[in-house]
Symmetry: C2
Subunit: 784 residues, 2 copies
């Protein structure tokens, strides 16, 4: 094939994709322009974005060619916002769209529907949504295209993820951080990311920063990120096609060279990976001017360049001219099908970017080979007879998970894996690092299962990309700082919710969080590290995709984590401590308790079927305080019947109409009673418990203690006292709520006040918690 012919073929595809994109934005009928455009052919309301589309179509066009010519396994992630029309156009041209959505055929009728549905109510969004075949990246919230791409290629040595970075997105923090993901890529076992920085110059209403700094400054920046940039620049289509074709080939050659050096010759020294700097006008090939004002190549091309096409004949004529400039008659046959010459360019089968199974990870997902948690469980001879660091115990379990699943599970964290005491995993794997490794370093290697960078955004993006391509993972993070990715969690939860309704997207693995170094144990970090609000944030998401667990000890943490790692299509938030704390349940009891999600602990209860008060708790520190309160009550007010309830699965509190894990009202009432006071010691902000239970029969008797946003650098025991969650306060709460206790109770109440004051003074003076002197083994439950 001559170069001219090849470029013509590329240009034809590009024109076809552009035509289909413009059609989606404007037309509801007359898709092939068989007659002049009439007002009724135009959508009544024009919603869409043209600006970024021609650039995306260009990259897709050239990627198809590369894939077809070299049999490359590649996906494309569209970073720029509002890339929807381009993604849909290419998927339709490739035929995938009609395979997934059978009512949208690859013919004139299908084209008409394709156009009509875009940005119509309940139709196709302007962003590259979950509904778009071939996408693992929504594009509505900017900043994650590179971290998603890097997550996708981990452990996929043959995969190339082409990540188009918009020059608007380029300004965001998460994107800026994620350029450094190349320092965590193993050229042997991982695939490659090919970033395409698309400099079209403008955002919504402003020029972009990278387009308005000297070019040598931008190139220095990209070199600093570890990339060798191949520049493709211009506004003459054939010239740009020629440049881009060469750049794609060169980039692919370079990727394979680096990989071959590493794979065949063991040369894993990090080298600059190629990238493409693509400089073309915003809204390229669209209207150059509208009403005498420049549009193409300016921010005015961002959205809909011709706004008055229904009522304004001049605008309509300009639109028709624009559409005809793509010469649709050469691109589509009489039935509206793409002509064969066009289709020759497209890859076939799974090689189509819109059909690549890596972009529909549920198809590839294999369940983890999970050991039973009991293999790592700690022996518990009696409640509180021993202590362990729960996350350290979990580390042993995770080490075995990693050993059994050497290529489909990774652990992510912002430099906190060891701090979070999961370091047992280093007995079986290393932390990945492709930067310089020195003798003093420990557990650093070009390949491993642990990904650590001090960017929660990059960790989250990696994990999302890894999950969306069919693998498994866990993100461990300080509880307070997981808020950094609140917004990313939103988007991922929305993705999960939407894809539950798409039967062609099988479920992916759950996004698992282990939040530790939590609010109650920030002895030296103080107030800035004390925030349990991520739970509140998560429970706002659709109930069917979120789960929150607060295991109270080591064995319940193990049982919870086994469950989470086996699950799919959820967001699982597990909050657990890393400090030594009591073991309450043996493996069998932990298994049962976690399966139930919440339950009465008979051994800590008295009063049998007819307690005077329900003392409930959720979270490790609240559980300790509540049990200590039981102990104080047994000592000082043994006549008070206390039902002790521990909650592991927070969603059990909600009712079954609100959450799939929710308890029915009868079951809830059986545990919490319909008329006894409930004193609830909770890990986080107390009102969440009210929000989850406000419909329950006994809600008016519910009294919750939790974190009141009072904190500082201090001991754990001082922290619970500052927030009125301490054992003495809980006893006082019981006394205040159980009727008819008499004068003895008033004395005990005073004793608690005094003990509290003394305890506070002691812990503040000594800088340590009070030594626990309790025997946690009480006679079996039910007695008084």
């Amino acid at each position: 094939m001559t170069e001219e012919h090849e470029l013509g073929r590329l240009d034809a595809w590009w024109r076809a994709a552009n035509y289909l994109s413009v059609g989606q934005i404007y037309l509801r009928d007359n898709p092939l322009l068989r007659r002049p455009l009439e007002p009724e052919d135009i959508k009544p309301r024009l919603l869409g974005h043209w600006g970024t589309t021609p650039g995306l179509n260009l990259v897709w066009t050239h990627l198809h060619r590369l894939i077809r010519e070299r049999d490359v396994d590649a996906i494309l992630l569209a970073g720029p916002g509002h890339g929807g029309p381009a993604a849909v156009a290419n998927a339709w041209l490739e035929g995938t769209y009609s395979e997934v959505y059978r009512h949208i055929g690859r013919d004139e009728a299908g084209m008409r529907r394709l156009f009509a549905q875009f940005s119509a109510p309940g139709g196709v969004p302007s962003h590259v949504a979950p509904e778009t075949p071939g996408s693992i990246h929504e594009g509505g919230e900017l900043g994650y295209v590179l971290s998603h791409a890097y997550g996708a290629v981990l452990d996929n040595p043959d995969l190339v993820a082409v990540a188009v970075v918009g020059d608007g997105e380029f300004e965001t923090g998460p994107l800026a951080a994620s350029w450094h993901a190349d320092k965590f890529l193993d050229p042997v076992a991982d695939g490659a990311v090919l970033p395409v920085l698309h400099l079209n110059g403008y955002k919504i209403a402003n020029p972009t920063v990278p387009a308005r700094i000297p070019r040598e400054e931008l190139l220095a920046l990209l070199r600093g990120y570890g990339h060798e940039a191949l520049t493709v620049e211009g506004d003459d289509p054939l010239d740009v096609h020629r440049q881009l074709l060469a750049a794609m080939d060169a980039a692919h050659d370079r990727i394979r060279e680096i990989q071959a050096a590493a794979r065949d010759h063991g040369d894993v020294v990090r080298r600059p990976w190629p990238m493409i700097l693509l400089v073309t006008p915003k809204g390229w090939t669209g209207p150059r001017e509208v009403d005498g004002v420049p549009v193409e190549g300016t921010w005015r091309a961002h959205q809909v360049p011709l706004a008055g096409t229904r009522e304004n004949p001049a605008h309509r004529a300009q639109l028709e001219e624009w559409l005809r400039s793509y010469r649709p008659e050469e691109l589509f046959d009489a039935d509206g099908r793409p002509v064969p010459e066009l289709l020759d360019l497209a890859p076939v089968g799974d090689r189509r970017t819109s059909a690549n199974p890596h972009a529909n990870g549920g198809l590839l997902r294999r369940p983890l080979d999970l050991p039973r948690f009991s293999t790592a469980a700690v022996e518990v001879t009696a409640p509180g007879a021993s202590t362990h660091e729960p996350t350290r115990v979990l580390g042993n379990y995770l080490a075995e998970v990693i050993r059994r699943n050497p290529d489909i599970f990774r652990l992510f964290g912002p430099d906190e894996t060891a701090s979070n005491r999961l370091d047992a995993v280093y007995e079986v794997t290393d932390k990945v690092f492709a930067g310089e490794i020195r003798e003093v370093d420990e557990h650093l290697a070009p390949h491993g299962r642990v990904m650590e960078i001090l960017s929660e955004h990059t960790c989250q993006g990696w994990l999302e990309g890894y999950l969306l391509t069919g693998r498994h993972g866990l993100f461990s993070c300080y509880e307070a700082f997981i808020h950094l990715v609140d917004s990313m969690l939103n988007q991922h939860a929305k993705w999960l919710k939407t894809t539950r309704t798409l039967d062609w997207r099988p479920p992916i693995s759950s996004l698992n969080y282990l939040l530790t170094s939590h609010v109650w144990r920030q002895d030296h970090n103080g107030f800035s590290h004390q925030d349990p609000g991520f739970i509140d944030h998560v429970v706002n998401k659709k109930a069917e995709v979120v789960r929150v667990y607060l295991p109270p000890d080591a064995n319940t943490l193990l049982a919870t984590m086994e469950h989470c790692l086996a699950s799919s299509h959820y967001v699982n938030v597990v909050v657990a401590g890393k400090q030594p704390s009591y073991d309450w349940l043996d493996p069998a009891a932990a298994d049962l308790h976690c399966a139930r999600g919440l339950g009465i602990w008979d051994w800590a209860s008295s009063g049998g079927e007819d307690p005077d008060v329900v003392l409930a708790c959720a979270g490790d520190v609240p559980t300790l305080e509540a049990l200590a309160a039981v102990s104080l009550l047994r000592e000082h007010l043994p006549e008070v019947g206390v039902r002790f309830v521990n909650v592991v699965d927070l969603m059990r509190l909600q009712d079954e109409r609100e959450h799939p894990h929710g308890l029915g009202d009868a079951a809830f009432d059986a545990v919490f009673t319909t008329d006894r006071p409930i004193v609830f010691a909770y890990h986080g902000y107390p009102w969440l418990i009210h929000r989850l239970t406000y419909r329950r029969t006994n809600h008016h008797n519910l009294h919750v203690r939790g974190y009141l946003e009072e904190g500082t650098t201090t001991t754990p025991f001082d922290m619970v006292m500052m927030n009125d969650l301490d054992r003495y306060h809980l006893v006082m709460d019981v006394i205040d709520r159980v009727p008819g206790l008499g004068s003895r109770a008033a004395e005990v109440r005073q004793l608690m006040e005094d003990s509290r004051r003394r305890a506070r003074a002691w812990t503040r003076e000594h800088g340590e918690d009070l030594p626990e002197v309790r025997d946690w083994s009480w006679p079996a439950g039910g007695d008084r």
Copy 2:
């Protein structure tokens, strides 16, 4: 002074600061080592971080010299986490600490207390906390030091903010984005930021990325960020002092050159600003090895390098040797005061970094000169008789605020000011841009009041820095994406809460958010742009510092914003629409309604003192639906007495014990009744209304409609229907809850079901909202 003498003087200060830092980490007694260290001299629990401290002390030392020698107005922001001991040591040496905290004198007794309080319960945190004089940057959560520094120097032409960037923090997204803040700095009217990237090589448990890439790659990156880096590198103190002294002078010279060129010669072309790349060992001058393992210069120096100093005599001896290596006897006199030679180095008065008023912005804050909102208000002849775009109306008001306050107010936004329809401000000011400006650009200039970068993190950081140094501002943002800064909001709210207890820190201006392009109006953006959860996030913060407003129309938005801009020391969240919507209240009514925070709208009510139902609403779209429901009820069930309540100030719903704005129970009951059903149409997630009201008498009668996380690309009216917030549903809710309505009500209910179905079909087909045909002017309230 000879160079040798000068370097010796610098080294003495550095040794003193290091000595005081180590003392804080370890000692509770024997602060001057008058006798050998005994176990009881050592704190019982060692909590603190040494690793970053010597580097910070070094920068402070050299900054003191520069300030003193050249009379520079400078502050220092310590980016690295756990920089607390260094900040405190320098403030104590400068004398400021003892001025602010009189019980911590600058003598032996004071030094003893200074040491004892650090990381002790309720004492001084390991981070540079609000309690630290001279700080506007907490440092517990990493990533914001540059944006804070840039915010501080805006409109402060003589100020230099030295921003120490840790090489761990360097990996975060917010920090990475904020390097580009230099493209928004006006060399004429703004001051300068001098970044010091401190490469000590390690984080908690890993090497840092910038320390392990080739140096030329790092320098290229910094050049790409727009900086000329002056490298200072070594581990020989005198040599490093020599280099750093020269680098500080050169950097300051260069800053003044750039400023002089711009100020004296109008040369505002952006040039590379200087920065310093400081490469010194982590934990420098600390123990080189502990128990045979290398510590200095590794990640092991991060926290407390000698852990066993109380029980292990060898460790204790090593600590004593370490402390004595600073030669305290040369640094402090017999009373523990710094020797005069040392004090000669320190700046005096307000020039001390720990006493610079810019770091205590409340001292400098002038109130805004605010026009009354009524000057921009829209005329309202009758409720619903006209429509306006509320944010566009606000734009006019903000233009006047800017006109009156040309140097103490700025508007921040991620490229959304125009999209959010605040563009009237461009009649009086421009968007700041220091990159290349082209002819096609509009309202871009080197100086202006509007700051736009596509990084919510940078916008928030700028604004925080601007407020913390005593100025005023407003951040306008799409509602969904403000979640990007959830975590920054946490930290700022914690700062505000803590500083309320510090009488030496007067209040700063409130952090004002305008959230628009909200959940109900994402016609073409769809699900990813639909999230009203920031309100939920904010109300978890301490009640005394957070306020949330949902003005239902243009005039209430104006009244609310005037109130917020005049306020201090709060976080104000204002949610308002930008689309054309009805005007309900005239200026006088808006003023009164906003002053009350919530109230009965008599003109929309019937049933007088004894209504059958309370129909409440908060937010512009819910208000429209609730009023339309009133209209339907009047038409079809005129016998139902409806009390119409609108809520602007969400915190009024909470009770007065929970929030300062909270209504007393009697006042609440007077509005919401004690026994009538309440149907509440709310802008966000419905459970928030339950959480705010669960203690109210009539809570069991409360039924809330809101956003149920159901969304897509569709019309506003389809959105409210998808979430059961529409007028028909509200009427059905009323019918279901008001007892004794009889068979007529059943018919109306069916009519509503049918209308709903028809309306949904219509809006989905037409891609538009139903035309409103209602007359909103009803006979005066109270009738039936």
